[in-house]
Symmetry: C2
Subunit: 719 residues, 2 copies
């Protein structure tokens, strides 16, 4: 049995069991987890020992001693409508008093906004006793206060504390933005390294600033943004920013009318400046920590989560951090690719599901099912760009009680190593290069449409499916920004995908008012490329036309202003794109009120039972349109499924005019997928299901043969 | 048998049959129709003879002789994306050459617009031979030409001509804006009156300008707006406008980026000026025609349709027209009220359905069903404000072949007269006064959400249901504008209803940025009134808050910018508003992504099968919220049904804090409705269905009794 590339959790109370499972799985690293302690002889269990390290929390002695260096967060009060000409807003109302407390010392950054007039209120007073901001109001105007609060308690520890009914100390969060803590975090790490000779890998969880995670009055989550920068702000941070940039940011710049510059917002110049500033601050501090780690003979590993703000893995400064590795949770193909493509580190590890916790590992449940589901979803992405390592987390002793699980995980570990050997041996064949276009571009590669890490939201799953599909399709995937478009779309790109709700950073919003962007994309499509829009792509609140690229996509969104224009193009046509569709296509939440322009091919349309007419009815879900030598495809929504991944692949090929590539290195059954590794002279045909699958396999020359694949099988075929 | 208040069609070939049916139905007026000719002895058939009269078409001799006075229309060319730096747009492309031809003489009004930059193109040339407008273009910008065309053929006659395969002359449309025609139309009417002594009522079909009705290349409807003013424009009209207003309108002011200032648009100042100007022009011309009619001893009746543009029945100038009567088609309660409340005329007539045409009156079909459906829908509105007359149209000889139909229509005529006698005897009891708020206010009373007269559109039926429900509910109904709000909401109004899609004139669009409007409405609700929002009421593309009155309604629309804010308020509650709801409520198209603010009562919420969480899921369909002493109610959509009418009634009572009025003059079964006529000391309990209905009747003092109503029955009860 091959060994290596696998990390398992261990615990002081499960040493012998760890040895057995480590052997079965070929694990070469052990780690500690929340609620476990590494055994003293951890180094005997595996080649490498990972040890969790917290930079800005965990040392409450330091924390309690330096309240003036605690972390902060910018918050917005609830919205209050004045009934009279005086108003007092309790700015802490709705927030969890144990987490956040208004910082009276930061008042110079606070902003009271009259949301009805859009004006700022100049004269106001804060009463520290009542937490009230009082001012003269215009009756029936709505007001908010954007302010700064001190973080009293680390929200991740707090969450575990509340959830698991812990009674340990509440961990403070100290801010290395301040001078004493800046020195302290280096000193502490040095000491810690000295005190942990058995540790090979310092698993930073994570660095300096927590993603936005704010709790409500009842200690339940109130606000979560995995990309949020609001907990990085502090008086010192904003002062330093002003000193460097020559202009000041205030709390409203950060609070952003309660939207906190979340990634769905078309980013403002101010926020981009602020992000860049925080990134550089974090980079400067962390590179010293990694240097200390290396000096102690250990590796530095970043956990992509918790306090990862400012350490943007696709940002310009990331390679400067000097990290050896990144580890993150894997929920599917997107998170695999988000991890596996991170530049500037030596290796990338994915922590797979299920987590070994009692919520899954209880009597009567079959955790192997979740293991298989997670593995199959992630595996297709590994086939494109493999992680360097996989691992698990939680209580290994719990998993040990499920022998089927242990056996299946062992198979998976072997399969992972086989995939790694092939995929790391040379770039897999790609039929196309696809660019996902949004306001974030490369900086948020594989990070589109996410709110809370990997969590399902009704408003996003119909878009997330695009990336999930792309993560395993035989195409190169790029993420480009509107600046990239203005600077000239790269020659090798075949297809651009634009997806998202109107006005968001993902569909482009105001960017589409820039005639340079509009004309650059239109010319590029006209010259013979493909453009795929999903949801409300290129949408503007313009009136007569809603989609800036309606002429390319061949459809537009009826916003109620063009109902008088008769719509006759409602007949569904057969098409290359839908040739593999067996039953109804799942468009997820879909998009209402889409109609086809004359000349467009309607490939799917929904008619309601209420319809009594043969004109001006139906909502187009899928359409194909020619534009010059290029082509546009519109899709109303694309939740991930095998069928939808195939649909997207066909749509991309068609839009790029490369339909002839379909039956090259291809497996016909949509439950299966084929990857081809020219350097390794290998094909891999995946059965993505738990059932037997029959398929026709086409080699790179189009030569066909029949395959019968076992459940979950990867069939390796020599080229 | 009672006689009167009923008009029937007749035909020279069906004189004896007309007499029999006139007798059965108690008809006191006969009329001609499309395709029929009045018999010479028409006056012997009834007290009154109506005769159709066309003002601006029908006399092709005049038309052919005065091509310089033909009517015009402002059109927008199709949108063309330039591929090169020169572009030529065939501006007639897509239009029906037999209907409209570019008028080269009107070029001073034409506008070429670069829709990508928003700029106007100054230098362009028109080639009359090719219909092409040529100019220098920026590659991949989109261009349109807004221009004026000459109307070659009346579109209503054209429609009948094409539909019925006629081979008669194509009727020209001459424009009384021009001097010769202005004199001619008076002369012609005088002569016509002299030549038609048997005619008592000149049924004008209609006056000067056709509502927008534009056909495509294939002679099929391309653009229809029952309220559209684009066919009133002409070089003379625009010149005269400029002379009076001191500023000029051009074709783009009318074409409005292809939206032609349709009623869904928040009206611009320019368009309101133009409407007012056209209304005054039409009024001045028509009052001379009515004077001529009266001088000839005849009555002047307006058909509310076809060329009714500029004769707005709820406009300021309408009473000046000097009309005796208005007649219009009745499709349900809304059209009844639209007709029955028109001020400034002596009587109002509704033409009921079905029309006596072979599409309904064919062997094997039961036209009585449509008769009953139409009658029951309209009847509840008649109970609130009765028409003065009813009538039918088409071939009476065809209807005569269906004896059941003739008998049922006779019953209906009797029932109508009974209703008329009661309702005209005094105002019915109203529990509340409700104001529908939109940009049009009183001017478009009972005209909201309409595209083509009475036609079903997917985007409007969920709003039209509100007015249909209101048309028969025991409430006073007003239509108010945002100016009315600014000038002070009338004291007697209990509830305001705001309904429509975001940005439209019906939901208010930009009006809600006016802090005077926002604060006026909020204060008014806070003081103890009700506000009901349907669809996307008060919606603005604002970011953090979408509904300007979110605090009143207790809900907001998630536009993708506040996904990070956790939404916990997803539990459905029982409520006064939904107490009569037996099964699922029909919200029609509904509204996606509505969430409840904390503290709001969620009365209906949709959960998808895909949901896996207990937070941030569900789409709120119905919610109730307190705001000061007042209340807000949100409804996602309200297609008309008996249940929804009841729901709306309860919502209005609750929002106004008048729940105690529910069981006063009330019939409990939602299939039934009660009206109370204090002056007549009568109750009328309607069974709106074709089935027996059991109900509890409550008199005005709340005294309860059980009723069993026959199908279609009106139970008259003495008070």
């Amino acid at each position: 049995m091959r060994k290596g590339r696998v990390t398992i959790p261990t615990d002081a109370s499960f040493v012998e069991g760890t040895k057995i499972i480590a052997d079965k799985w070929g694990a070469d690293a052990v780690r500690d987890c929340d609620g476990t302690v590494l055994p003293d002889n951890a180094a005997e269990l595996a080649d490498k020992v990972y040890n969790t390290y917290f930079v800005i929390r965990g040392d409450n002695e330091w924390g309690e001693a330096h309240p003036e260096e605690w972390q902060h967060a910018v918050l917005m009060s609830r919205r209050v409508t004045a009934a009279e000409s005086k108003l007092a807003i309790d700015i802490a109302e709705g927030y969890y008093a144990a987490q956040l407390k208004p910082d009276a010392g930061s008042q110079r950054f606070w902003v009271v906004v009259d949301r009805t007039s859009g004006q700022r209120v100049k004269d106001w007073e804060f009463d520290e006793k009542t937490n009230e901001v009082a001012f003269k109001s215009v009756p029936f105007h709505e007001y908010t206060v954007s302010y700064m609060a001190t973080s009293l308690w680390d929200p991740v520890q707090m969450y575990n504390y509340i959830t698991n009914d812990w009674h340990c100390e509440k961990q403070r969060m100290y801010d290395p933005c301040y001078p004493l803590t800046a020195e302290y975090i280096k000193r502490h790490l040095k000491e810690w390294c000295d005190a942990h000779p058995e540790t090979n890998v310092v698993r930073f969880t994570t660095f300096l600033y927590q993603f936005s995670l704010i709790f409500n009055t009842y200690g339940k989550e109130k606000y979560v943004d995995w990309f949020g920068y609001t907990m990085s702000a502090s008086p010192k941070m904003l002062d330093d920013f002003a000193a460097e940039y020559g202009y000041s940011l205030d709390c409203e710049d950060i609070a952003d009318n309660g939207m906190y510059n979340n990634p769905f917002r078309v980013p403002s110049r101010k926020f981009l400046d602020y992000m860049d500033f925080v990134e550089r601050r974090v980079t400067a501090a962390v590179k010293e920590l990694t240097a200390i780690t290396h000096a102690a003979g250990k590796e530095a590993m970043m956990f992509l989560g918790d306090c990862w703000i400012g350490a943007e893995p696709y940002g310009d400064y990331f390679p400067e951090l000097g990290l050896d590795a990144v580890v993150g949770s894997v929920g599917g193909g997107v998170t695999v690719r988000m991890l596996s493509e991170i530049p500037g580190v030596k290796y990338r590890e994915g922590r797979f599901l299920p987590y070994f916790f009692p919520d899954t590992f209880y009597k009567g449940n079959d955790p192997t099912k979740e293991l298989n589901r997670n593995w199959l979803t992630a595996r297709r992405a590994l086939m494109r760009k493999c992680l360097d390592r996989i691992g698990f987390g939680g209580y290994l002793s719990l998993a040990a009680q499920f022998p089927d699980f242990i056996d299946r995980a062992a198979e998976i570990c072997d399969e992972f190593r086989a995939i790694y050997d092939c995929v790391s041996g040379g770039k897999p064949y790609s039929a196309l290069t696809v660019a996902v276009l949004n306001c974030w571009g490369k900086k948020r590669s594989w990070m589109s449409f996410m709110v809370a890490h990997e969590l399902w939201y009704q408003q996003i799953y119909s878009y997330q499916g695009i990336l999930e599909a792309l993560s395993g399709l035989p195409v190169n995937v790029r993420f480009i920004s509107f600046d990239d478009v203005k600077n000239g779309i790269d020659k090798d790109i075949d297809v651009i995908v634009c997806a998202g709700d109107m006005g968001t950073a993902f569909s482009g919003g105001e960017m589409w008012r820039d005639e340079k962007i509009v004309t650059a994309v239109k010319k590029w499509v006209h010259d013979g490329h493909g453009f795929i829009g999903v949801g409300e792509p290129t949408a503007l609140d313009n009136g007569g036309r809603c989609f800036a690229l309606a002429d390319v996509l061949g459809v537009d969104l009826e916003r109620g202003f063009t109902l008088s224009e008769d719509k006759y193009n409602i007949e569904k046509k057969e098409h290359f794109i839908t040739a593999d569709v067996a039953s109804d296509i799942d468009f997820g939440e879909g998009t209402k009120n889409i109609y086809a322009l004359p000349g467009t091919d309607v490939l799917d349309i929904t008619f309601s039972d209420r319809f009594v007419r043969k004109v001006n009815v139906g909502e187009v879900n899928l359409a194909a349109n020619s534009f010059g030598k290029g082509r546009g495809v519109y899709i109303a929504g694309l939740p991930y499924s095998f069928t939808n991944a195939r649909l997207l692949y066909r749509a991309m090929l068609w839009s790029a005019g490369k339909e002839n590539l379909l039956d090259k290195a291809f497996s016909s059954n949509p439950d299966t997928e084929c990857n081809y590794y020219p350097d390794m002279k290998q094909y891999a045909v995946l059965n993505n299901t738990a059932a037997q699958a029959e398929t026709e396999f086409f080699d790179i020359n189009g030569k066909k043969s029949r395959l019968s694949l076992k459940p979950h099988e990867i069939r390796w075929i020599r080229a």
